[in-house]
């Protein structure tokens, strides 16, 4: 059994390690450990102090967690139900914009003087944001009843763009309706709510911060890491929810739809209903993710943060891990964020530190002409200045490599059996019973 389901990593490990690797938790934390070690090593090379190291790991963990949540949703949609959702950012945008607009102070009671809103308590606004994303998911899923994979993908992509462009529209920047003044802030964006975790450590939790500062650390580490832990709890919750959903009769029907929708229908299943439910559940989680990720990372949201590029990055994480496997999806997120998304910036820092690049190369021709003169520094400088372009290049390379070598992703051929009980165990015990009876029979 284990040889057949072994992934490329498990196959190469020596036996005792491979047995450990077979456990999901080891896969996740093993990969995380390796990526952490890489970052600590880079930090060591760059001479980071403890705060520097903690901060570098925090940034890494934050991104892994938020990408992990989004990737799990994509796995529910695509990996299980075969719903090609490439409008992920749109639902995040709806969640966070709804929560923000509802929680902004009402006009007149606005100390900062920026855009007013409805003055809802944050908790209520968050719930409303999640519900709004779910409702948007319902509306977007309706066409899926008649459209097949790729056409549905086009609808979701268009939906996300419509959402982004609507929030960007100057018409909606600030308006007054039925006596309420509110708006999206248009292209300039809107100030979001204050982060309750940070508020806590600024007031009641202050002694904790002070204690940490007493140890000679920057106190900022406390609220920063606490918030990452909160997000981690959201990730664990999402994993739990989606793992249970997929290991159930509900998940079984979703897998049936993915494999052959027509056959599923001819077995008395209303597939449309299952598809819509799976889609809406995922969109609700995306709405929450929009709030806890985009809503808090800089205290400001603009439509520019919800470009399709972000959706594609999330998809790459799923593709690396292997659609259809929840564990693979989380491991894929760790690898994607650690190596592809943040990797180029890390390499650049190390190169800066040790090669000591000199000169400047603002444009590609500059870099090339310097290369003609035998000086490689400007080329390196130019290349590492393009961190975001490097990500895309690296993403492309990873995709080509995966497509050639392992199109199903690292863990894509892993079986996560869709039942609320352990079927393999039941079958094994049946077979045992039978052998025993057979042997008993022989003895007679």
């Amino acid at each position: 059994m284990s040889e057949r389901t072994a992934d490329p990593i498990g196959r190469r490990l020596p036996d005792p390690l491979a047995a450990y690797w077979a456990r999901d938790i080891v896969k996740i934390f093993g990969t995380l450990g390796v990526v952490y070690a890489l970052y600590l090593f880079v930090g060591f090379l760059l001479g980071y102090d403890l705060f520097g190291q903690l901060n570098s790991l925090r940034r890494l963990t934050f991104l892994i967690v938020v990408y992990g949540i989004a990737a799990l949703v994509v796995n529910l949609h695509w990996g299980y139900a075969g719903l090609f959702n490439i409008g992920v950012v749109g639902f995040m945008a709806i969640g966070v914009y709804t929560a923000t607009i509802l929680s902004r102070p009402v006009a007149g009671q606005n100390p900062t003087g920026s855009l007013p809103g409805f003055g809802w308590p944050l908790a209520l606004a968050v719930v409303a944001g999640v519900l709004a994303a779910a409702a948007a998911g319902y509306v977007a899923a309706l066409p899926s009843l008649r459209l097949r994979d790729d056409y549905f993908a086009i609808v979701t992509l268009a939906f996300a763009e419509i959402v982004r462009i609507t929030f960007k529209s100057s018409e909606l920047q600030e308006l007054t309706l039925f006596g309420w003044t509110f708006g999206t802030g248009g292209g300039r964006g809107i100030r979001t709510f204050s982060n309750p975790v940070r508020d806590f450590f600024a007031t009641t939790g202050q002694p904790v911060v002070a204690a940490v500062e007493g140890l000679g650390l920057d106190g900022q580490v406390v609220p920063d890491w606490s918030y990452v832990l909160v997000l981690l709890a959201v990730l664990v919750g999402t994993y739990w929810l989606i793992a249970r959903l997929s290991a159930s009769p509900f998940g079984r029907v979703l897998k049936g739809i993915r494999d052959d929708e027509e056959a599923t229908q001819s077995l008395a299943k209303r597939t449309a209903s299952f598809k819509i439910r799976a889609f809406v559940i995922g969109c609700a989680i995306l709405g929450l993710l929009g709030i806890v990720w985009q809503g808090t990372s800089s205290g400001y949201i603009t439509p520019g943060r919800f470009l399709p590029e972000l959706t594609f990055f999330i998809w790459i994480a799923v593709i690396i891990g292997g659609a259809g496997s929840n564990t693979g999806t989380v491991v894929g997120s760790i690898l994607f964020v650690g190596l592809v998304l943040e990797g180029p910036a890390q390499v650049r820092r190390v190169v800066d530190e040790f090669v000591g690049l000199s000169g400047s190369a603002p444009t590609f021709p500059d870099a090339l002409s310097a290369l003609g003169g035998g000086n490689i520094d400007p080329v390196l400088l130019y290349v590492f200045d393009q961190t975001s372009a490097l990500r895309v290049v690296l993403t492309g390379l990873v995709l080509i490599w995966l497509l050639k070598r392992r199109p199903q992703g690292l863990f894509g051929d892993r079986r996560e059996v869709a039942s609320s009980i352990d079927l393999e165990g039941r079958v094994a015990s049946r077979r045992r019973d039978r052998t025993e009876t057979a042997q008993g029979g022989d003895a007679d």
Partner: protein, 280 residues
Amino acid sequence: MSRPPEADATDGDGATAASTDAEADPILSVDGVGKTFGGVTALDGVSFDVEPETLTGLIGPNGAGKSTTFNVISGAIEPDTGRVRFDGEDITGWAPHETSSRGLVRTFQIAREFETMTVLENMMLPPENQGGEAAWRAILPGVRDGVKEDEEELFERAWEMLEFFDIDHLALEEAGTLSGGQRKLLELARALMLDPEVLLLDEPFAGVNPSLEQDLLDRLEDLRDRGRTFLLVEHDMDLIMEHCERVIVMHQGRTLVTGSPDEVRSEERVIEAYLGGEVA
């Protein structure tokens, strides 16, 4: 979507009473069904009855419209004209999930197993009224215990069925790795998990080796004796003539002849249809 209230009890009694007569009420009747696809006439007034608790064969040359007829009956396509009645109820235009839920289940010409799912998962998908198909029940602690109990029962049923078809040794295999014949068996076993009254089998023996074929036929006859009805499309004429009580012959989108194997065998028009002669 709303259906007329079901009158199962009376229908059931009626059927039992009638079956003592020579001719029982048909459980499935197709009446004047026509269907054109962009000017091409696929079905041109198909009419036949299927008696309960029989093996009924549907034969005809390639392109006669047998699979299209199946698609119309199961609801995969809606006919332009004509009606389909099942167990006393007009089911014309019902969606596939509605006809299969009502007790009329089909298999496909090329087996359509869920290839990335294990054989057991394939078997446990169809049964209706699974509480765990509601997302919240699948998740919520406490309520989920009920789902687990259902799953245990379902496993028992699926296991028995796999044993019945002698494919229990494949229970944990991915269905996509099965041989063509095994897939056919799996598809039939999977359809039976819905406990249907009528099974529409589209070439159930294609790709099944001869010894297995005999086995499978025995099982179908066994199931028929337990009250199920089968309508099967098949190209093996000998098999149909030997095992079916009634045979329906289709040609060029029409029902040509309906009758017992002997009646059909002696029918001139059937021979002509198969040998390519023009039908008057």
